[in-house]
């Protein structure tokens, strides 16, 4: 079946602009995660959605970052007033329910802030 998809695959933006990154999880997966992969910081958790529960936002680095998940499916990660340190690969993952704990990752969006 189809895996996790993300768009765009690459995004170049100017410092100070806002960007939106999209994630389509595996159909039927109830949990959705955003991570960031950068050279200096490795793989960092950003935010986690589980069903209709309030999201776990504990990994968001600043209030410039936000995410939403509409209809329990597609998610959008928004970064406002981008900074150069936001340059990274943003990864989305989804997970099924019923004791299945492994997360399936998408290909990522490479964000470059100039």
């Amino acid at each position: 079946g189809a895996g996790v998809s993300q768009s765009p695959s690459n995004k170049v933006t100017e410092k100070g602009k806002d960007v939106e990154l999209r994630c389509d999880p595996i159909s039927g997966h109830t949990a959705l995660y955003w991570y960031r992969q950068s050279l200096g910081q490795g793989l960092e958790f950003l935010i986690y959605f589980q069903g209709n529960s309030a999201p776990d936002k504990s990994g968001l680095p600043s209030d410039r970052f936000s995410a939403e998940r509409t209809g329990g499916s597609v998610s959008t990660l928004t970064i406002q007033r981008t900074q150069q340190e936001d340059s990274a690969v943003y990864l989305c993952a989804s997970r099924g329910s019923g004791g299945a704990y492994e997360q399936y990752f998408g290909p990522g969006t490479r964000l470059t802030v100039t």
Partner: protein, 112 residues
């Protein structure tokens, strides 16, 4: 706070050599443990996982890992590596369904 430590940043091996990548985590409760692999230009893929039961788990492509609870370790092994195993390997832990905490990653280079 939970943390995961991978002992080696970069490992270089010749084909047919044996591999062991170290991973230690700090968390006192029940955890799930994972190894993910990222081949050059590809996305993260699950290599193997431990949830419960037999502490020796087998994954894809001949990899295995052993969970030693007393040592908070989950080391990855392969008896004989191939050039195609060249990739970055990440150890990760979660507290049963929540966010993954990743180690820093180990880059494996296998010389043909």
């Amino acid at each position: 706070a939970q943390s995961v430590s991978q002992h080696n940043h970069h490992v270089i091996l010749s084909e047919a050599a044996s591999l062991e990548l170290g991973c230690n985590y700090s968390y006192g409760g029940t955890v799930n443990l994972f190894w993910y692999v990222q081949y050059p230009g590809q996305h993260l893929q699950l290599l193997l996982k431990y949830f419960s039961g037999d502490p020796l788990v087998k994954g894809i492509k001949g990899f295995e890992a052993e969970f030693i609870k007393s040592k908070f370790s989950f080391n990855l092994r392969k008896p004989s590596v191939q050039w195609s195993d060249t990739a970055e390997y990440f150890c990760a832990v979660d507290n049963q369904g929540g966010k993954l905490i990743f180690g820093q990653g180990t880059e494996l280079s296998v010389k043909p």
